[in-house]
């Protein structure tokens, strides 16, 4: 029988010493060490840099998220020198060499936003804290993008927004660490209004059905202001709960309201269902006030147009990018994406691919991943060759300014991807607004946060 001399106090001391010893390697080589020695959070280590792709992998926007992930993987492949280089070959900046970012091989981690703000924040937090992501990008909803952007600002990493169209993302909720390549609700309205005026005249009365959340409100405000400015009247603005699936009871009163245009400020499943219901009710075959009844969908997405099928034919809207564009950048991207995956990319895929390249390029030009230096490199950055013509990341609000596409549902599609046709490319000047425009007022960029 042996007698042990181990006391409770001794056990604690031994345990603490052992824990410190075990922690030592990561303490001096891991993220904490790197941050302390480089002045920013999650500096690259061991010749690799980690990017966090936060997209909806489950839930109703999962297909859009899957397309975003494909584009992200393609962008990483191109950044690391693989594939045909895609839009890196047409990008006006020549800082990217195909040798990763600043010589570090690019790797990535993914998170599932579930199109829920809390889930998106949790997955972004995990990618930053556990996986060491130096940049977070993604999103297929403005509510999610705004939530994650705020989180990235607090955490001290750059947020490159994916598909988010609310004015608030670069308006009242803008952040110094956040950047948006995608266009916004104001731009959609500014691009659409002149086309609607030309098509339907100035003596029209619009009825708005609006998804009852951040994006819907700003879309409604923008398109109503733009159409009223050209002489249209607004009969009614009706907010529909986001969870609505059958819009019949909202559509049935439209014809009685005296309106001759229905504006559907809906996106995703809401848009598919409200448009389908409106066409079922035969609204497009009706005559009101001696004019043909018309339907407008301010924000179009090819993936969603597919869900609405033949109902989109002849209906006007706007989009950030479309695979049928014939500029060198778009052609290079479509070729690269189409060869790899067998179908053309969506606008969501395009914007996230651009965002990844733009971030990498800014790091190359800044010579560091430090968010403050990267933000400085992106602010006021003018570029071309990424499919939207000459574009500028405005310093005042971190919003990209570029041409906007007005599209309509194609009457005679030639294949399953040929759903929208470009009606007009609205020049940047027509969709630009002052940084202190009332629809964007109320927020401050604040100071960039390097996270260390």
């Amino acid at each position: 029988m042996t007698k042990s001399n181990l006391t409770r106090r001794g056990l604690i001391k031994t345990g603490a010493a052992a824990s410190a010893g075990l922690a030592m390697p990561t303490l001096f080589t891991g993220n904490v060490w790197a941050a302390a020695h480089s002045g920013y959070r999650n500096a690259p280590t061991n010749g690799t840099v980690t990017l966090g792709f936060n997209v909806p992998q489950s839930g109703p926007y999962a297909d859009e998220g899957a397309d975003e992930l494909r584009a992200y993987e393609l962008a990483v492949e191109h950044l690391n020198g693989g594939g045909d280089g895609g839009m890196m070959n047409t990008f006006s900046s020549s800082a990217l060499t195909g040798a990763g970012i600043l010589g570090n091989k690019v790797q990535f981690v993914t998170g599932d936003t579930q199109t829920k703000s809390d889930a998106a924040r949790a997955s972004a937090k995990s990618m930053i804290e556990k996986d060491g992501a130096v940049m977070i990008t993604g999103g297929s909803s403005s509510g999610v993008a705004i939530a994650v952007q705020g989180m990235c600002q607090e955490a001290g990493v750059i947020f490159m927004a994916g598909l988010t169209h609310s004015n608030d993302t670069t308006g009242k909720d803008k952040k110094a660490n956040g950047f948006r390549h995608f266009f916004n609700a104001y731009m959609s309205a500014a691009a659409l209004a002149p086309v609607l005026k030309k098509l339907y005249g100035t003596d029209r009365t619009a009825y708005h059905l609006t998804a009852d959340y951040s994006w819907g409100w700003t879309q409604e405000e923008s398109i109503a202001a733009a159409t009223e400015a050209m002489g249209w009247k607004t009969a009614e603005k009706v907010r529909t709960p986001l969870a609505t699936t059958d819009f019949s009871s909202y559509i049935a009163p439209v014809l009685n309201s005296g309106a001759d245009v229905l504006v559907l400020n809906h996106y995703g499943g809401n848009m598919v269902n409200s448009l389908t219901n409106a066409v079922q009710f035969g609204l497009r075959d009706k005559q009101v006030n001696g004019k043909n009844f018309e339907i407008v969908v301010p924000l179009y997405s090819r993936l969603m147009a597919k869900g609405a099928g033949a109902n989109v034919k002849g209906i006007f809207g706007s989009t950030n990018w479309h695979w049928s564009l014939t500029d060198a950048g778009s052609k290079a991207f479509v070729k690269s994406f189409g060869t790899k995956y067998g179908f053309p990319p969506s606008q969501a895929a395009h914007t996230v691919y651009c965002q990844t390249l733009l971030y990498a390029d800014a790091c190359q030009r800044a010579g560091t991943h430090n968010p403050c230096a990267v933000a400085e490199a992106l602010e006021g950055f003018k570029f071309d060759g990424l499919g939207n013509g000459p574009t500028e990341y405005r310093a005042e609000d971190h919003q990209c300014f570029k041409d906007v596409l007005v599209v309509k549902g194609k009457e005679n599609p030639e294949n399953e991807f040929d759903l929208l046709e470009i009606v007009e490319v609205t020049p940047r000047a027509q969709v630009e607004y002052a940084p202190d425009h009332p629809m964007f007022a109320g927020g401050e960029l604040g100071k960039c946060n390097p996270g260390a």
Binding site: G59, P60, Y61, A62, D63, E236, V238, P241, A243, T245, D246, S248, S249, Y250, A252, P253, L255, N256, G269, V272, N273, T276, N277, Q280, F281, G282, D285, K286, V288, L303, M304, K306, G307, A308, G309, A310, N311, W323, S324, V334, K335, G338, T339, F343, P344, E414, N415, F417
Partner: protein, 343 residues
Amino acid sequence: MDQIFLQVLNGLDKGSAYALIALGLTLIFGTLGVVNFAHGALFMIGAFCAVTLQKILTLSKITIDPTKTDFLGNPAKIKTPYVEGWFGPDMGAMIIDWSVPMAVLFSIPVMILVGFIMERGLIKHFYHRPHADQILVTFGLAIVLQEVVKQFYGANPIPTPAPAAFKGSFDFGVMLGIDANKVIYPYWRMVYFLFSAVVISAVFAFLRFTTFGMVVRAGMADRETVGLLGINIDKRFTIMFGIAAAVAGMAGVMYAPINSPNYHMGMDFLVLSFVVVVVGGMGSLPGAVLAGFLLGILESFSSMNEVKSLIPGIDQIIIYLVAIIILLARPRGLMGKRGVMED
């Protein structure tokens, strides 16, 4: 007046879907005593029967057309559905056009089989477990089923149009002497309402006028006594589960043209249908149908602008508000019976 008429019409088709799902739920609860949270998934699978038949009918022969190019600039692949090759372009196109009504017939054996597998494979093991266990396992099953469907069909809605003959809407305004365009109602929604009325009548007639139905009703009232008479009531209840699955499936098939099917459409209906069952009275088939139409119509009225301007947000809570009021006044629901789900 025309607005009220319009919203009653709107409520009828919503109510039809609620009533059909609630009818199936009540059948399963009344016979097997199981609270089936996977019933919404059966509605969804029904809608995907329509999608599947549409896909089968549009299976195509692919030929290369060198005069056209695809999005990558390669020679375009032209798809010609086999049915058009077999029956001629016009007949083939008509068969594809009528895929949804045909899918009703397609869905019946599929749904009975799905119901049978579900009941024999999983649910029968939970007959003697508490209702909370039944809810958990069937809810889990619903999630599994919708994820399986998502795996095969993706997350985006898939357009499944009604036959061209039913496109557009009927103008009740002209018929009733009110102004044109005041009361319009899509043809397919009228078809949906009539279809559900026929299905509901058929289920009631089956239970009332057939020997099988009589035995089932007897079993619902007193399972033990029927069993003592030498009747294999379990087998009949399993068949009833299959019938309830088929009712939900047919409701889903016919609903597909109203809203493009997606993998989570079952969940959208499930919670409301449970409220319908509870309001109607647990175990009461007429109660389920009555409550389905009542809540469908109330939901339609609550989304009228005039009502919403008086009570903002009423359209989101009306069903639950009415459910609370009815259950306070009649704790067993509109047509509930003493002793059902009561210890």
